[in-house]
């Protein structure tokens, strides 16, 4: 790919450095060192899960490096009616590239590039073996459509690793709203032909109860719609968040291979092997997908050896990323709690005169503030 041009002299300088023993890379890293990676989750407030990731950013001014932004948005879709919905939900991924990330290529080439990235991400992540269990809402009726959108803001090499890491982080961060199915039933006391109105109050609406009406002759479950039982709740985490795959890009200058290449290094490598590993259990990478980019060729034997090596790198990436994601969860919980404490204080000040709300604030101080403040907001 001609994302960056290097002269023959630069190319041979890089190649000779990689093949030397000990190997020398342009910035002094060893072959299997990554640049530092900055990661933050929950960057898009309106998304169900999001992450921002930057590989190799300059620590002082934050410039340079490969930067991607990933966001997950859930959408309800009908399974019936030819809208493309699938029972149990589906996953659609797309990658778009900011033109400023690739200032030197034409818009047509940019489209091609986006398509390439989308293809790899979509085919890997929407594979049935990785499908999360909790994307269904109503069997055969409604399900969640999970849209994963990734934007490439800057590319300084190793874009595939960045895409997969950000995708994993965003999916890890994703919360699926809890739903509860609703069905309409005839009132037991007195036959009433007309269906119950949704706004008709709680007495009219039976929620997930197994009492079967004598007038109900349908075989299907009566659930025809759903509601969100707890509006303020973010929801439950997406199932199988430990499984999401990571990509290891091995850049080959035979016989050596190296990781986390810069653009110049990528241009100097004859072939790039992308290995996508998913993690059924921690420390157990399973090969989920594989791509080879570039004009070089590779023998089966060396490919096998590379996959084995790649598994090791994937393990290391996995453990580092998981611990970072847990840290991020912790940090955000902390932040949310601080915000919450502030909110409660505000409640207290605002409602000190109102006796009902005084009780709520009392409750809040006794540690039940989750509920209390929720109810307050409803008031």
């Amino acid at each position: 790919m001609a994302l960056v041009s290097v002269s023959k002299a630069e190319k041979s300088y890089i190649q000779a450095g990689i093949l030397a023993s000990p190997a020398h890379r342009l910035d002094g890293r060893s072959l299997h060192d990554f640049r530092s990676i900055a990661l933050e989750t929950g960057v898009a407030p309106l998304a169900n899960g999001s992450a921002r990731l930057k590989i190799g950013r300059n620590p002082q001014d934050g410039s340079g490096g490969t930067e991607v932004l990933a966001a997950v948005k859930l959408e309800v879709e009908n399974v019936e009616g030819g809208t493309g919905g699938v029972d149990g939900g589906r996953i659609v991924c797309s990658v778009s590239c900011s033109p400023s990330a690739y200032p030197n290529i034409s818009s047509g080439a940019l489209d091609d590039l986006q398509h390439d990235y989308t293809d790899v991400i979509n085919q890997t992540l929407s594979h049935p073996s990785l499908h999360p269990a909790n994307l269904g809402i109503l069997p055969r009726k409604k399900s969640w459509l999970l849209n994963l959108d990734i934007v490439v803001l800057a590319d300084a090499g190793n874009i595939y690793d960045a895409l997969f890491m950000s995708a994993r982080a965003a999916l890890w961060d994703t919360k699926v709203p809890r739903t509860r199915s609703i069905e309409y039933k005839a009132r037991k006391s007195g036959p009433s032909a007309k269906d119950k109105d949704m706004v008709g109050g709680s007495g009219d609406m039976d929620v997930d109860q197994d009492t079967v009406s004598g007038f109900d002759t349908r075989h299907t479950s009566g659930a025809i719609d759903f509601e969100l039982p707890d509006y303020w709740d973010e929801g439950e985490i997406l199932d199988g968040r430990n499984r999401w795959p990571l990509c290891v890009s091995l850049n080959l200058i035979p016989p050596a291979h190296f990781l986390d290449a810069t653009l110049q290094e990528e241009a100097s490598a004859s072939i790039r092997v992308l290995l996508m590993f998913s993690f059924a259990s921690p420390g157990q990478p399973t090969l989920q997908g594989m791509r080879m980019l570039g004009p070089g060729e590779l023998s089966m034997a060396s490919l096998k050896a590379l996959i084995k090596e790649g598994g090791k790198y994937a393990n290391e990436m996995h453990s580092a990323l998981t611990s970072k994601l847990r840290d991020e969860d912790l940090r955000r919980n902390q932040k949310a709690r601080e915000k919450f404490a502030l909110g409660n204080l505000w409640v207290y000040i605002k409602c000190a005169s109102n006796p009902v709300l005084k009780i709520i604030t009392q409750l809040a101080r006794n540690g039940l503030y989750g509920r209390a403040s929720m109810e307050y907001r409803i008031c």
């Binding site: 041009s5 290097v6 002269s7 023959k8 002299a9 630069e10 041979s12 300088y13 890089i14 000779a16 450095g17 030397a20 000990p22 020398h24 890379r25 342009l26 910035d27 002094g28 890293r29 060893s30 072959l31 299997h32 060192d33 990554f34 640049r35 530092s36 990676i37 900055a38 990661l39 933050e40 921002r52 930057k54 300059n58 620590p59 002082q60 001014d61 934050g62 410039s63 990781l259 790198y313 290391e316 990436m317 580092a320 990323l321 611990s323 970072k324 940090r331």
Partner: protein, 317 residues
């Protein structure tokens, strides 16, 4: 291979929200500029692109601004400056503004009829005419038709070269020349890019560090770091050896030189990220400091090492 962890994650810096919403004085007479002129005090004013600065009737628009609806509006992000009635915005980040005589490092992007297009971090691509390069077989040789047909023998797409700004065309495009023995194709090293305003005009932009590393500080922010070539071994002293001048092959570079080149490259990127202007003395001091620390070149990329480097070097300078 190393005891270091292969991969490490960090966090983005958490910025404090220090933006103040501008307070507009509703009741004040906006046209009353004699009393309360624009930017009269010595305060530092930053502008965003599209930000309205002042009235166009009372002030003139300078660089980095445009007039719309009788208002002077910033077209770049940067510092607002005022000289009498002239308002300019000095951009935070800018491309290279060429001047005749500047030394630049550029990359060939296109081979055209009797000319090469050169990318040199300027607003437009520079032009290198076939008539302004040294041709093989003597400096004073006339150019032939055969030269036109084999232009890729001299420079092809992707090649890096060092050249001087010779003149400007009517549309502001710069024309380069390499008619000197010290100019021409680059090899035996690596390129590093810094903001162009960090490269000051020096007595000489060819710097030889005592560690066996040569530096070419292009005024366009492209810096070539390469293995030192002895003065008497330079190509083309006598007879002008075209093979060597337009060669794509690197010499043998030993490990210590490679490490030194990486070290210099990392020092430059650290200094550039702290916006330290690059001069030969600062680079030399930084290199000496870095060698004293007895670390690998890659250690320089760690935050605290970079910070110590910058404080040490700027304190001495």
């Amino acid at each position: 291979m190393s005891d270091f962890k292969m991969i490490a994650f960090t966090s983005f810096p958490q910025y404090q929200e220090t933006f103040k919403t501008p307070v507009f004085e509703e009741d004040g007479d906006e046209m009353d500029l004699d009393e309360n002129g624009f930017l009269e005090s010595d305060e530092l004013k930053l502008a965003w692109p599209g930000e309205s600065l002042t009235s166009a009737q009372a002030y003139m628009r300078g660089h980095g601004t445009y007039v719309d609806n009788d208002e002077v509006i910033a077209s770049v992000a940067g510092v607002v400056e005022r000289v009498n009635k002239l308002i300019t915005v000095r951009p935070v980040r800018t491309r290279y503004n060429p001047e005749v005589g500047d030394l630049v490092v550029g990359r060939i992007t296109e081979v055209q009829a009797r000319r090469w297009k050169v990318e040199a971090n300027s607003r437009q691509e520079a032009v290198l005419m076939l008539s302004s390069v040294n041709l093989p077989g003597g400096v004073q040789r006339r150019k032939l038709e055969s030269d036109e047909l084999q232009m890729r023998m001299f420079f092809e797409e992707g090649d890096l070269l060092v050249a001087e700004v010779q003149a400007f065309f009517g549309d502001g495009t710069m024309s380069l020349h390499t008619r000197s023995l010290s100019y021409g194709k680059l090899r035996n090293g690596q390129l590093i890019t810094v903001p162009p305003n960090l490269v000051r005009r020096l007595k000489s932009h060819f710097i030889s560090l005592p560690c066996g590393v040569d530096l070419i500080l292009g005024l366009n922010g492209y810096i070539w770091i390469s293995k030192h070539v002895k003065e008497n071994e330079r190509e083309g002293e006598e007879g002008f050896d075209a093979e060597a001048v337009y060669s794509n092959r690197n010499d043998n570079i030993d490990d210590s030189t490679r490490i030194a080149i990486s070290r210099v490259a990392n020092i430059i990127s650290v200094l550039a990220s702290y916006s330290v202007p690059l001069t030969d003395t600062i680079l030399l001091e930084a290199y000496e400091w870095s060698v004293e620390q007895e670390g690998d070149p890659k250690d320089l990329l760690q935050d605290h090492v970079g910070e110590t480097l910058v404080t040490t070097v700027t304190a001495r300078g």
